[in-house]
Symmetry: D2
Subunit: 239 residues, 4 copies
């Protein structure tokens, strides 16, 4: 069983009608539901309103892969919580940044760039193309899949060159976006996935669910090795 924690800002679902309708128990619980049904995952949830913004060292020590959804309250995540997450990823925890989590503190710290992009909300259809069909995250996905309505994200997306670009998004209004990107940092594996706007039921899309499940399996740690900053002795003089 892969230990998954889903962190959600959990604000829109309590304050805006469309998110409340699609996700009455929050986006985190909607994701938990389809992960629970799968059988391969042991799922916990956490939210901004929790103690220490929902992030504790104990929680992360018991997490193989952390999913993150945030949008309007990135700044309310404390620097301490962000640093705990950052360190956990570098130590080997998988990290999946969903949609507007491109601007979350942990993702920006991991990337080292602004992670800026352009956006518009016009109910565009997004067609997500597979760019790396043999990648583990693309298994079970056809040449492409469609999301009936999604917020539009447009290039340029200010990230380091992805180590692996798995998906690219086409929007009916005319934009493209690198919608599925893999990064290796320290011992950790990081996946950014564009879909997931709060006003549309994206997380009920079966292909989106398949991608998220694949990404969890891909990001699960294979080894946790601490690269210390350490003084060493000359080889041969170590005794």
């Amino acid at each position: 069983m892969i230990k998954v924690t889903i962190w959600n800002e959990f604000i829109h679902e309590k304050t805006k009608p469309l998110p409340a309708r699609h996700y009455p128990n929050g986006i985190h619980n909607a994701i938990k539901e389809f992960l629970d049904a799968d059988g391969r995952f042991e799922v916990k949830t956490a939210a901004l309103e929790g103690e220490n913004c929902g992030i504790t060292k104990e929680l992360l020590d018991n997490t193989d892969v952390l999913l993150w959804w945030g949008h309007v309250a990135h700044d309310r995540v404390s620097d301490e919580a962000a640093e705990l997450v950052h360190n956990a990823v570098l130590s080997g925890m998988g990290f999946i940044a969903l949609h507007s989590a491109h601007h979350s503190k942990p993702f920006r710290r991991l990337m080292g760039t602004t992670c800026n992009l352009s956006w518009r909300e016009d109910g565009d259809m997004e067609r997500i193309w597979v760019i790396k069909p043999s990648h583990p995250i693309a298994q079970g996905i056809d040449r492409y899949f469609e999301i009936e309505h999604e917020e539009t994200y447009a290039e340029p997306f200010d990230i380091p060159e992805p180590d692996e670009l798995v998906f690219g998004g086409w929007y009916s209004g005319g934009e493209i976006f690198r919608s599925g990107c893999c990064f290796y940092r320290g011992n950790g594996k990081i996946f950014y996935f564009q879909p997931g706007h709060e006003t549309v039921p994206v997380f009920k899309n079966e292909n989106v669910q398949t991608v998220i499940k694949n990404a969890i399996c891909w990001a699960a740690p294979t080894a946790r090795f601490e690269i210390k900053c350490s003084h060493i002795k000359k080889i041969g003089s170590e005794e």
Copy 2:
């Protein structure tokens, strides 16, 4: 002055009405025209019908950047000619593969992959987005530019992960494509650029011309260093 050679298969323009109309003197001469007008380039052309498929060692020794357009006659380029080009690129010559040159012998040898892709001809509009706005090849280009009609190329495009992805293409019919890709191989710089179908006057598009000129400047050799396969002596025993 950067020494540019434009190699063209030069078949469609003599056998099919639309290419003949748009490019009565061949695609190579249409490109030569706007490069000549620029003043920074010393331009030669070559064609499949020439001696040794238009490729000689002397020609390549006097070429800083080679542009390549081919489509129906990739197999008629001799292995010897392909090898001359391959070697010249590894020694430092820049190489720009235009449109269907994705399947040319030199490009495939440089990539080491099939370079396969899917395509259709429906007169789609292609909107080319800038992914790396500070890249030298993107200078002078706005957020995006449009090509009224272009052959549609679709992912997956079987290439190694590009060292730099500069442009991405959006097609009105629903596909995306990595339309501008940079690769470093040996001492050579390689740029693949998607636009350039023979039935539409793509090379008369000003933005396409800007990209090609930028790419030539980027790909021009800064150093030619032959990495030999050589026996060396132990350091200190070399005299």
Copy 3:
């Protein structure tokens, strides 16, 4: 069980005293021995002297990961055999190039570069450092391990930038080398590993054995997807 085929040129072991002493049944059988003992692998061997240089489509269709050792007879591997291997890798077969296989036809075709390097034979000690400690291929290896005597390979090594650099070699005479490099091409995973000179019993080194076993597990295909060059129909007009 991962289906492994070990291809060996198998010439030095029959013609030169030191290789004959260390590997009386050939390098391929020395590798087979420790792979057989592991239990996770179903191992076949092939040699240059076999039909079609030891490479047939049937063999490759039944191979998950192909190991390759060659040195003096790269040119005697037919282009047909090299192409079969090349195609199989792009379709998903793992490929592990050992030592002087850096200059083998399949490896050069996959890389697209000269794969040149410098070398000398002075019985140097090679100390192999782990650069990516959390990489699957580095599991079970300490900070570094030593090979008492190995042929010295020196940078520059003319390969594309590795997708993942796992090991770096230090030689007692003063050189360094990128001794363990991963590449993704098409659906295939490729690992180049520097150790394996025929005059020293490198394949009996336990750490070398661990790396090779790890590399086989890493390179085993997760998905075989043929990226065809195919005409497609416009979305919505496909029926």
Copy 4:
């Protein structure tokens, strides 16, 4: 003229005998001296003891390439100063991190990893090998060059995979290190260079000087393009 600013922590040179002997006016002024002599650079210096840790927006707005040397006082650089530098790099300013600046705040923020490594001080000789001979930063350097005494840095070095690995270091005591690494982040170019320990006169080494001058030319901004986080309008509805 490329506008260069050299930032130095400037502590060891005032408090420890060896640094004081080698660099009586500080490492920054030793670097300034050979840059001034070159003629291509307009050089300013800054130090931790200056206002706002020596870093102001005005200074960075007038800097093409910033060199950074720091060691014992990384934490005394304010977060505000580090953020100014980070933002300037993402906007296009070149950044060259020297030696122990691997642990400086700006470099760590740009990398997103711990940038940890192992080290020892035994007066080893470092031999720096060229891995990418055609790279602009390697011009004028032979196959390798030697630094008589340098602090030893050892892999693993916890950085993202470099976009270009230009130099690798061999130490007489037995370690290797990725001693010259290029990264592209936002619009900025970043070069990490290992040599530069304060107790040895490394910056008086001609090859080290050549590399630093090359790196400045390479890192100078070609374009400054701000990737904003911006709301856009639907294409066609923009008026």
